[in-house]
Assembly symmetry: C2
Homo-oligomer: 383 residues x 2
DNA sequence: CCGTTTTGGTGGGGTGTCAAGCAAAAGCCT
DNA sequence: AGGCTTTTGCTTGACACCCCACCAAAACGG
């Protein structure tokens, strides 16, 4: 209940009373409960303003840790984060998700244990597990649904798999949704509507509408990679259609075209590296990809009317070129009203957006007012 | 609080206790408060199931009325509805919204008074006013924002205008949003994500995401009329761009093309009439418009992943032809996952969707738990 | 006609919140 | 330095709300 106040911007007991409108005595009682649960601690007094100096309360971000895995198509990143979503330990590795759930999750579980030892925390400190996967997910049950690039994962229940190893909540979501959540929570908290676009090997987007992730009916929302572009009827996409955005502006497509032009590149990161190194062909190509992306985003802006567009993913890291192309086309093709207040920016979390978003998803779940109430109830009943 | 239970599916005091999990005594107390406020009434007993027969409670939809105006570009519809959003009296008239707010609202106010007399209700029975306008609206303040087809309305505060005449809440929204709300609440209550598409003179859409209307940052969400189509580079839209959906598949565009072909038609309703009369050229044209619309909707489906698409507006009334074209293209261009459970249907409320949606918007506002609490508090304080 | 069942209504007990008052810890003034 | 003021933290009694238990009423069934 008072949890959010403590997370964010306040404060001391008296401040809490003023902000919430509750009586000071009530606040004191609630704070005591949180102190007893070690969710907050007293961080010493601060300077007085003429009277008794207040006791500053601080959220105890060391009260537990969350395990997060951002599983990509060919590359994965694991992290342990504290309750402030600050990564305490990380590991990344090339890993083909097509190996199937058992093989991948065995490795994940192994690495989690290693990371826990590294930061000298025990399994008892783990408060939850968050997994991001590169495909649609039924969020309620934590099962991937018909993911095109994850053979063997369809309908596999990740919470069930982890249930035998940890007794904590397990949340699974699409990786782009997690990135969107991470950026939104970290840098755009007050913004209601945000669109996060990941430009990596493929292209996908995560939608924040009304302050919450919009997942759609089948968890397939945000799939903009296969929207058809104009004047690209010659490009055939792996989905079978022609002129798809992903087949024109995706990292894989760019790498192939660079290779055709005699420049070695096989992944989206290679393309990004070439741009960073100043390769003119790659730079030109990324800028052109930005224009293609801009055409699609213009439609999304008209449709969704967000306040902010955040560009991330491997190619989002080379933001100058991509953003220039996007802004150029978006402003030309969208309605003035929708673009008037629109900001188009690069991801600030970079390649850690996924794991940070995963941590946030879990922390928000664990520290929701309802969950806190349940914890306190439970402890009270036990005593 | 128990309000929704009464609105929807329950019932009797004992049922309420079972459904809410509250004690029977608590339920009785709350019901008494609602009875005192005449928001519910006892509708006599029903048959017993072996014991004392229960007293059936019913929502008193005659406890007040709401005034609703669905202002179109050239045509307006006013209605008075009871608290079940059932229209009690209606009037429609051709009215150019470009006459400006004072002229239009004077007429609206005049008609409201006439309708009230007609159903023998007084101003004291009015619980709220809902207005739908054909353009973006800042919902919080009830002001149209830069509406392209409403000269003189930009920033005009409708709540302020009505405040001198009625002392009730005044809510203003985009007309398509109201239609979407009406269809959602009436026929698709349990559905979380719905897309309503109005095909009339122009083309617009209303988004229901997570059960609520998504208005976007500037109230401009759902504007799909100016998304660019493929292979229509020859068409110039009034917005200045080329190949806009509205310029290809909108009612005005079809009317112009029919006229060019020697068939008299000036409005979208003329086109719909021709189709209903079996005119082959018009039928063919509407079906082709459906295909164009399908191209755009395929992208929207991929992006938003709704469960239902509802087609309304003047041309939505001739649904067979339009739907056939839409379904044909949507299923071809969207991802299988997103279309697997997707239903595409015609509006069931027809041209009354706007006023019914407006009534629902108001009723939901007036009968929200918070509002009910406030009413009871207020009455308690007065006594 | 009496027990059973289901419902509606009433009173006692418990929990949580509010309001008021008191103690503590500073700053400020003389 | 000492008293006053201010601000904060904490305790106590009162009130409101909700639950539990009991009782009355109204039907059905044997």
């Amino acid at each position: 209940m008072l949890q959010l106040i403590r997370d964010g911007t306040a404060v001391t007991r008296a401040d809490l009373a003023r902000r919430t409108g509750l009586a000071r005595s009530t606040v004191a009682q609630r704070v005591d409960a949180l102190l007893a649960h070690k969710l907050v601690y007293e961080a010493g007094g601060s300077e007085s303003t003429g009277g008794r100096p207040p006791t500053v309360l601080a959220f105890n971000h060391e009260a537990g840790v969350v395990l997060v895995a951002d599983l990509g198509a060919t590359h994965s990143r694991l992290a342990i984060a504290d309750l402030a979503s600050e990564p305490l330990a990380e590991v990344t590795q090339d890993l083909d998700i097509a190996l199937g759930p058992e093989a991948v999750l065995d490795w994940v579980q192994d690495q989690f244990a290693t990371l826990l030892r590294k930061i000298k925390r025990s399994v008892a400190d783990v408060r939850g597990i968050g997994i991001g996967v590169p495909g649609p997910v039924a969020f309620g049950t934590g099962q991937p649904i018909s993911p095109p690039i994850m053979p063997g994962w369809d309908g596999f229940s990740l919470p069930n798999w982890f249930a035998t190893r940890y007794d904590v909540p397990v949340l699974v979501d699409n990786d782009v949704n997690l990135m969107a959540l991470g950026e939104h929570w970290t840098n755009w908290r007050g913004i209601e509507h945000l669109l996060f676009v990941k430009v990596g090997t493929g292209i996908g987007s995560g939608i924040v509408a009304g302050g919450h992730i919009h997942r759609g009916a089948q968890g397939a929302a945000g799939d903009i990679g296969h929207i058809r572009l104009h004047q690209h009827e010659d490009v055939i996409c792996r989905c079978g259609n022609i002129g798809c955005l992903e087949a024109v502006a995706g990292g894989r497509a760019l790498a192939i075209r660079l290779t055709d032009a005699g420049i070695e590149a096989s992944t989206s990161r290679d393309v990004a590296d070439l741009v960073r190194a100043g390769n003119p062909t790659a730079t030109q190509m990324v800028r052109e990809a930005g224009r293609a992306l801009g055409e699609v985003l213009a439609e999304c802006v008209n449709f969704l009317n967000p306040s902010v567009i955040v560009i991330g993913g491997d190619l989002g890291q080379v933001h100058e070129q991509l953003l220039a192309g996007i802004r150029e086309v978006t402003f030309r093709r969208s309605l003035p009203l929708a673009t008037g207040e629109l900001q188009t920016v690069a991801s600030q979390l970079g390649d850690r957006a996924g794991v940070i978003g995963g941590a946030i998803m879990l922390i928000e779940h664990i520290l929701s007012p309802a969950a806190i109430d349940a914890q306190i109830q439970q402890a009270g009943a036990a005593a």
